[in-house]
Structures are given as structure tokens and as C-alpha cells.
């Protein structure tokens, strides 16, 4: 099978996957016991308001009609409006508001995990069965075993009273002062001026505030560390194994025999090859970030997509839950395809099965 046919088949296979995922979402939310109308009206609403709202939301139509409408709307990327969380506001605009927070959090949690996990893993792999290897390996495993919700609470408690734990060094006033809880400020960069060339707008004026950026990073850091904790542990373990395997492989032996210096061997041969098995591990983290951000966002008060999803699910905001799920599904499916594709490109040994 050629590469392109494989790719095409993979795409084709993702169609039922997306449809099935959407159907599950519809069944769960709309046929469940959660009533969006009651969520809107509140305790003092009368029947008249209820009837009217049902009509407005189209809930008086037969269920199969609602199902078809839902599927068609989603698949044509007509994401609709929120019903309950912010009535009448379009899902796109909600996404524009909430998604950057989650992306910023996700970006840092991946970056921190990579920057700490991989070096530690490589270090442990280069010094196998030493005390520091054991310490790093054990630490990584325990770190990974910590439930996010618990780790988040503990980190918050420690930072809040950092003066007591770190000899008077207060986290809140360290560097830039900030709050422990809440959104990271994302307005450190903005485009102030646009010029339009034909139909394309090009930003020309750029506003950038370094101190806001620092503040923003500091704000998101504890949450990112918690969210990335599991990934960090994974990367460490895989990194360690990968280095161990490469060191024992033939070409490193050959290089040694050729009398290359250790430094060159390590940098030129070991690390480069050890990075390959880490690639899918890192792409796989997208799943973890999407699912795990609910709890981290709730505890750290970063009201991003995870928080939005949780609220929407509990309150029966169907368009919102459906749209979020749809976007998550599309995201995961495309990452999967991309990853498989990259794999076949990078490593010709992998079959197109």
C-alpha cells in the first residue's frame, strides 16, 4: 500500500470515529436528566417563561429532529450559541475567550515537562544504576503517581504560606507580585496597528510588555507544573530507557571503537537517536492535557476550556458541550493521523497496516 493510500484510508477511518463520538455526546447530554431550561430560569421562573425558552431553544421538536440538527450543525462547523452559561453568546466567541487560557497553560505544561523530564531521563540513562539515577527514577515515578487534584492543593497551600516554608521568601512578591489564583494576564502582546493589503491584514504596530509576560508566566507556572506532572514522569522514564538502549547499540560501540570522544558520542549519536521514541510520547500528551485540565483549571481558578466544559456538562448546555467535544475529537483524531503519518515518514520500517 502506498503512503498516500494509507493516509487516505486513515482519513476515511476517522469519519466513523468522529460521527460515533458526536453521537455519544448527544445521547449523554440531551437524553440525560439534565434540564437546560431549568438552569436558565432559576427558582422563581414561571411556566410561561419555560415554554417560551423551550421554543426558542428548539427543545419542543422531536428528539430525532434535534439529533439530525445537532449532527448537521456540528459537521458544518455551525457551532451555535451557548444556552445556559452565557445565553445567546456564540460558541466561537466563547472559545476565543476561553481557549487562549488553556493553550497558554498547556504550552507551559508541555514545555516544563520536556525541559525537566527529558534532561533528567537522559542524565539517569547516562549514569545507570548510580545513586543519582535511582533518585531521579524514583522521584519521577512518585511524581507521576501524584493525583493532580491533590498535588494542586498541596502546591497552593505551600506557596500561599511560602514565607513559612522557605525562610521568609515569599512566592507572591518574588520577582513580580501576583496572585496565586486566577487567570494569567494574556495582554502582554497585542497588535496595535493593522494595514490591509488586498484582503490580507498585516499587523504593523506591536505592543509588548516584558513585565506582563513575566507576570503571566509566573502566574501559570504552578498550574503548568501540576498539569505536566504525569507527562514529566513519562518522559523521564522513556528518555532514560532510550538513552540506555542507544548506548548499548552497535553504532555507538563502533563510534567508541573509532576513538571518538565521549562528549561527541553523547551529543552527536546518543541524544539524537534517543529523541526519536520521545516524539509520540510528547504528541500523546495532548490527550492528557485536554482531559486533565478540568481539575487543574478549577483549582487554580484559570477558567479555561476545561472549566468551561465542566460547567457546561453539569448544566446541560448542549451546544457548548457538543461543540467542545467535537473540537476535542477533531483535535485528537488529527493529532493521531499526523503522528502516524510522521512515523511512517521518519521510520520506514513501520508498515502501513
Amino acid at each position: 500500500m502506498s503512503r498516500w493510500r494509507y493516509f487516505f484510508r486513515r482519513l476515511l477511518l476517522s469519519v466513523p470515529v468522529v460521527l460515533f463520538g458526536l453521537t455519544i455526546t448527544f445521547v449523554i447530554v440531551r437524553m440525560g436528566p439534565i434540564d437546560p431550561v431549568a438552569a436558565i430560569v432559576g427558582p422563581e421562573g414561571g411556566g410561561a417563561s419555560r415554554g417560551r425558552i423551550e421554543e426558542r431553544l428548539g427543545l419542543n421538536e422531536p428528539l430525532w429532529q434535534q439529533y439530525i440538527d445537532f449532527m448537521v450543525n456540528m459537521l458544518t462547523f455551525n457551532l451555535g450559541q451557548s444556552w445556559v452559561i452565557q445565553p445567546g453568546r456564540s460558541v466561537e466567541s466563547l472559545l476565543m475567550t476561553y481557549a487562549p487560557r488553556t493553550l497558554w497553560l498547556g504550552f507551559w505544561s508541555v514545555l516544563i515537562a520536556i525541559c525537566i523530564g527529558i534532561p533528567l531521563g537522559f542524565y539517569a540513562g547516562l549514569n545507570p544504576n548510580t545513586k543519582s539515577d535511582y533518585l531521579a527514577s524514583f522521584g519521577g515515578i512518585v511524581w507521576r503517581a501524584m493525583p493532580n487534584f491533590w498535588l494542586a492543593i498541596i502546591i497552593l497551600a505551600v506557596l500561599r504560606q511560602s514565607e513559612r516554608f522557605f525562610f521568609g521568601l515569599s512566592w507572591q512578591s518574588l520577582g513580580v507580585s501576583n496572585n496565586l489564583i486566577g487567570q494569567p494576564p494574556l495582554d502582554f502582546i497585542a497588535f496595535t496597528d493593522w494595514i490591509t493589503v488586498g484582503i490580507i491584514s498585516i499587523p504593523v504596530g506591536v505592543y509588548f510588555s516584558f513585565s506582563t509576560l513575566i507576570e503571566s508566566i509566573k502566574q501559570v507556572m504552578p498550574a503548568a507544573i501540576v498539569l505536566g506532572s504525569a507527562a514529566m514522569g513519562n518522559e523521564m522514564r522513556i528518555g532514560r530507557t532510550a538513552v540506555l538502549e542507544t548506548i548499548n547499540s552497535n553504532y555507538v560501540e563502533t563510534a567508541k571503537a573509532k576513538g571518538l570522544r565521549d562528549r561527541v558520542i553523547v551529543w552527536k549519536h546518543v541524544f539524537r537517536n534517543a529523541l526519536v521514541p520521545l516524539v509520540p510520547i510528547i504528541t500523546n500528551e495532548a490527550f492528557i492535557l485536554i482531559g486533565g485540565s478540568v481539575i487543574v483549571e478549577v483549582i487554580f481558578g484559570i477558567n479555561g476550556l476545561g472549566y468551561l466544559f465542566f460547567q457546561a456538562a453539569v448544566q446541560g448546555d448542549l451546544p457548548l458541550v457538543g461543540s467542545l467535544m467535537f473540537i476535542f475529537i477533531v483535535l485528537i483524531v488529527s493529532i493521531n493521523i499526523l503522528q502516524d503519518f510522521l512515523y511512517t515518514v521518519l521510520d520506514p520500517r513501520v508498515g502501513y497496516e
Binding site: 410561561a48 419555560r50 445567546g88
Partner: protein, 602 residues
């Protein structure tokens, strides 16, 4: 900022005076309540600059800035700074005063209200006219975005004159609201409502510029509704809308051409935080000036306060975690939180047994850290028919051991119903997501364990609770009721047994989810009869006595059948750092408080 501070204190006195005279004159047919605007000679923003003059608050998730669409107090708090109605409760106090109305004339049949409007300006510079009110009232009644149409149309609410078409929808332009001239606005009611002026203070009745949204017939609208609900807000209030970043923050700034007292501060900023720990951390960082303290971090013994003549506790609280002393205000609210039963699904013996084991004092003191007042009757003391003294007298006859757990009496009752520990009665208590109710539920479960009632606990979001209630699926549940104006009438309609019929909900019945009509008991009959007495005596003044007696009969019936177990009346508390000078709020809740008289002194 000492100068402004003085001005605002003088003003406070003035407001108090006018408040005392208001209702008296309102009853006589006309009301005049005005106060001089406080005109400061300096623009505070010029003097201070930056964020120094911003009042920082914490809020929870807001849903909408459209007054007719928002139903939550979080949005309400922001809306109240931006929009204004004809009347208001200053600082959330118990007595209503004129706001955009300069003068009210009430016709002798109590059906026509004629308002003379103040000269006021919107934030965009246009003048307020009576047409704006007609437009606003029509939107409330007719717009598909209105979540509170029943407030203007419903019989137990304002009951404004209107026509309906065959489907039961309001005919456009049929409501009894009319602009006589630019500054005279008139409404006509279907039936006399002694609380009409109180009701008009609700934020859904706020003035908005005519034609700003096109969601009713005859208007195209300057803005899309979604814009109006989240990005554009134009009112006559003391603060202009700046921005709202959903689930992050909201901000308003001082409106310099405000018709009343222009704010001393530059604006108000709300950080939106849902989590209790986050909330407290934020407050302890001194990031908020005025805030509340979650129960977990609250310590009753830190309060040093005295009761004022309105029953409010005013004083100091602290020192708190960061070493500061805080100003403290605690105000009993007109609200009742309760456990209630679906009468036909739970035998009366079981209900009474639960009443026996329930110890409100322990509940309020231990679980709620004393942040409430034990509720024995449904109606809070502040709204009790015949006054608080009458209530104290009445509760002496409480049939089920006031403030004590009597497990032996409960055991006897449960046994007489044919249940014991080996064959327990299975009962599910559904609470909404509130830590306090869950704790109370666990406590009740423990006390019933072994007596022959196996209490299962279930927690559910508010929306689901309501859905289950209307389907008659709630055996035993917790909910609360808040009075929108201080009168017994507002809570009691929901107890009329015929009105508790869940099979008619949500359309034709609007009571509590009790199904009390199915209970063939003396108490149920007594409650029905009492409600009929209430309906037979609608006159605001002359009928009061008869209605009061009927309400007390209903309270008695609730006790006898134990269909509802009132738990506590909330005490709302507000804490602020001492550089803030803010007037204590009142019994209607601090979300009604407007911040134009607040001063910051840093």
C-alpha cells in the same frame, strides 16, 4: 480623600430621612423622595490616577449583562451599578425609595401608577425619556430573551394590564405601560398589588435607551442582542461599563455626568472566582477591598460587633491570616433554607421523626459556624406576619423539640410506621451543590442511622434539582427561598396545597415541590382554607390582619404535617479592609448595594 468622605456621610443621613418617610406617603397615594446630588469639585480620577481609586471586589460567574436576561445575583451586582430602575432599595436595605422616579402618583383604585421621571442622562449622552421605560417594559414582557416575563405579567407579581393571543403569548404593544409625555410614565395593573413599588426595583425593570436592541416588534436595534448582553451596556447608573472578560473579570468606571451623587472612586473591578480557597487567597493577598469569607476559613470568635437598630451586626473581625483587622457587617437576610418532602411519597411519621432528630441550633452553630439564624417558621422574623414578636410567641408551641435531637421520639414514630433498623425506610435526600447542605445531610443521615430510616445522600446541580422537583421525583430535598420584598405574601403562595401539585408544574402550578394536595390531612385542609382566606382579602391595608392570621395558620399546618423543615435564615456578611469606607448593606442583600458612595483612603 477626607473631603469626599465628609460629603458622603452627610448624604447618608439624608437618605435615611427620606427612607423613613417614604412608605407612609406611598400609601397615601403619592410619594416624593428626592435628594440633592453630591457634586464634588474635583474629579477623583485626576487626583488619584492609576488603579488607586478602583474598588476591588470578588464575584462569581456572571451570565449576562442584559437586565431582562440575567437571573443571578452575580450579574445583578454589576447590572445594578450600570442600570437603574424607577425605584431601588438603597444599600440593599428593607425600604424602597425612588430612583429614576422623581414622584409617584397612585390612583385611588390602586391600579394606575404615574411616575414623573428625573432628568437623567445615559452613559452615551442621550436623555432619559418615558419612552425608554415603555420600551424596557415591553422587552421584559415580549422579548424572547426575557427570562423574567412572569415578573411583569404574572398574577402574583406586577400583573400589568396586557392581552394574550391564542397561544398565550403577549400581544405586542398591549401591555399597560405608556409615555404620557417625555417625563411622565404610566403603568396600569390588572389587580392591586401592595408591593408594586418594591417589585419595580428589580433590575429587570431598568431603563435602557429606546431601540438599542431589536428583539421586540417595531425596532431594528442598534446592536445585536449578544453584543448587548456582553459587550455594550448603556444605562443611567453611577458607573459606565468598561469590560467583561467572562469567568475572569469585569470592570466599570465612574460616570461623571451621573444624575445623583457621582462616585468618589474611579471605578469597580470584579475578579471572578468560583473556588472558595481561591476566593480567600485572593482576599488575603489584599487584592480585594470588600469581600466575603468562605465558611472554611471563617472563625466566629474573631467577630467583635454590636447590633444596630436594624438588627445588623456591625463591628470588626480579625486579626485575619495576614494580620489585618477587617470591618465587619452581618445582616440577617430575608431568606429561608429548608429541607422539604414530597408529601405522598414519604409517610407522615417519617417526616415527623426527621423533624424530631433535626437540631437546628447544632446545625447552625457547628456546621454553619453561626452564620445564620435558626429558622423555625418558614417566614423569617423580618417578614413575619404581625412582626418578630409575634413569631417568638408562635414558635414556643413548636411540636417537635425545638433545638434538640430527640431520637427516642423519632424511633417510636418510625416503629409505628412499621419500619425498624432491620427493615429500614429508604429515603433519598437530594441537595444541590453546597458544602453546607452536604454536611447537614451527612449529620442528619448519622442521626437517623439505626432508627429505621436509611437516608441516601445525593448531590445535584441546581438545574437538575428543579427538573426532578417539577416531575415530583424528589422525595426529600434542600432548597432556599429569598424574599424579593419584605412581606409574608411573597413566600406563602407556594404552600397552597393545590399549588404544590407537581403534575401541573411547570405550567399551572408554581408552589414548592410538595404535592401536599394529595395528603388527606387536617393540616392540608387548613392550609388550603387559609390560602382561600388570603385570596378573599386582597386589600393592601384592611385585609392585612385577616391575611396575617391566615399565614400563621399555614405555618401551623406546615408544622403539623412536617412537609417542610425550615433550617436557617441566612446572615449575609461583608468584610472590608479598613481603608475602605462603605455603608453597611441591608436585609435585601449586598448585591443591591451601589458603590457611588464608597470612598477609599489609602
Amino acid at each position: 480623600m477626607g473631603h469626599e468622605c465628609l460629603v458622603s456621610l452627610e448624604m447618608a443621613n439624608e437618605i435615611d430621612q427620606s427612607r423613613r418617610t417614604f412608605l407612609k406617603t406611598a400609601g397615601a397615594g403619592a410619594a416624593v423622595a428626592t435628594f440633592a446630588g453630591c457634586i464634588t469639585d474635583e474629579d477623583p480620577s485626576e487626583e488619584e490616577g492609576g488603579d488607586e481609586g478602583i474598588l476591588n471586589r470578588i464575584n462569581s460567574t456572571m451570565t449576562s449583562l442584559d437586565p431582562i436576561q440575567s437571573t443571578d445575583t452575580a450579574s445583578g451586582e454589576v447590572i445594578n451599578q450600570i442600570y437603574e430602575g424607577l425605584t431601588y432599595f438603597p444599600n440593599g436595605g428593607a425600604e424602597v425609595e425612588n430612583l429614576l422616579a422623581e414622584e409617584v402618583e397612585i390612583s385611588d383604585d390602586l391600579l394606575t401608577y404615574t411616575f414623573t421621571l428625573k432628568e437623567a442622562e445615559y452613559h452615551d449622552g442621550t436623555e432619559l425619556t418615558a419612552d425608554d421605560f415603555v420600551y424596557a417594559f415591553r422587552r421584559l414582557a415580549e422579548s424572547e430573551n426575557s427570562e423574567r416575563a412572569n415578573f411583569i405579567l404574572g398574577d402574583i407579581f406586577l400583573a400589568i394590564e396586557h392581552e394574550t393571543d391564542d397561544d398565550g403569548a403577549v400581544v405586542p404593544e398591549s401591555i399597560g405601560a405608556e409615555a404620557i409625555d417625555d417625563r411622565t410614565f404610566e403603568i396600569t395593573l390588572r389587580s392591586a398589588n401592595p408591593n408594586a413599588l418594591d417589585l419595580l426595583s428589580y433590575d429587570s425593570f431598568s431603563a435602557i435607551p429606546e431601540g438599542i436592541v431589536g428583539d421586540i416588534e417595531g425596532y431594528d436595534g442598534e446592536y445585536e442582542h449578544s453584543e448587548f448582553a456582553s459587550e455594550v451596556a448603556v444605562g443611567t447608573g453611577p458607573f459606565e461599563f468598561d469590560n467583561w472578560d467572562p469567568d475572569a473579570e469585569a470592570e466599570v468606571s465612574t460616570f461623571d455626568d451621573y444624575h445623583g451623587s457621582v462616585a468618589n472612586i474611579d471605578g469597580v473591578h470584579w475578579q471572578i472566582l468560583e473556588d472558595d480557597t481561591a476566593h480567600f487567597t485572593y482576599a488575603m493577598n489584599r487584592s480585594a477591598d470588600v469581600f466575603s469569607i468562605p465558611t472554611a476559613d471563617y472563625d466566629q470568635s474573631l467577630i467583635d460587633a454590636e447590633t444596630d437598630d436594624e438588627g445588623r451586626e456591625i463591628g470588626e473581625y480579625g486579626p485575619v491570616e495576614n494580620g489585618d483587622m477587617l470591618d465587619y457587617v452581618g445582616v440577617p437576610q430575608l431568606s429561608t433554607y429548608y429541607f422539604a418532602f414530597n408529601a405522598p411519597s414519604v409517610p407522615v411519621e417519617i417526616r415527623q421523626a426527621i423533624a424530631y432528630v433535626l437540631d437546628r441550633e447544632e446545625l447552625v452553630q457547628n456546621i454553619f459556624e453561626g452564620r445564620g439564624e435558626e429558622a423555625v417558621t418558614f417566614t423569617p422574623p423580618g417578614a413575619f406576619p404581625g412582626g418578630p414578636e409575634r413569631r417568638d410567641e408562635f414558635i414556643e408551641d413548636y411540636p417537635y423539640e425545638l433545638f434538640e435531637t430527640d431520637r427516642d421520639a423519632a424511633r417510636d414514630l418510625i416503629e409505628s410506621a412499621g419500619y425498624d433498623d432491620d427493615d429500614p425506610y429508604e429515603l433519598t435526600l437530594t441537595t444541590y451543590e453546597s458544602e453546607v447542605f452536604q454536611e447537614a445531610g451527612r449529620d442528619l443521615r448519622d442521626k437517623l442511622a439505626g432508627l429505621g430510616v436509611d437516608l441516601q445522600l445525593e448531590e445535584t446541580p441546581f438545574a437538575t434539582l428543579q427538573e426532578q422537583g417539577e416531575n415530583g421525583n424528589l422525595e426529600f430535598y434542600s432548597l432556599g427561598w429569598t424574599w424579593s420584598w419584605p412581606a409574608a405574601d411573597y413566600g406563602m403562595f407556594g404552600f397552597e396545597p393545590e399549588n404544590t401539585n407537581t403534575s401541573l408544574m411547570p405550567g399551572d402550578a408554581s408552589g414548592y415541590y410538595l404535592d401536599w394536595h394529595e395528603e388527606d390531612s387536617d393540616a392540608s385542609a387548613m392550609a388550603q382554607e387559609a390560602w382561600e382566606t388570603v385570596e378573599a382579602n386582597p386589600e393592601p391595608e384592611e385585609g392585612q390582619e385577616a391575611r396575617n392570621e391566615a399565614y400563621i395558620d399555614m405555618e401551623q399546618a406546615i408544622w403539623d404535617d412536617a412537609v417542610m423543615l425550615p433550617l436557617y435564615h441566612e446572615i449575609a456578611e461583608q468584610f472590608n479592609y479598613q481603608h475602605v469606607d462603605i455603608e453597611p448593606f441591608g436585609t435585601m442583600g449586598d448585591y443591591l448595594q451601589r458603590y457611588n458612595n464608597v470612598t477609599l483612603d489609602e
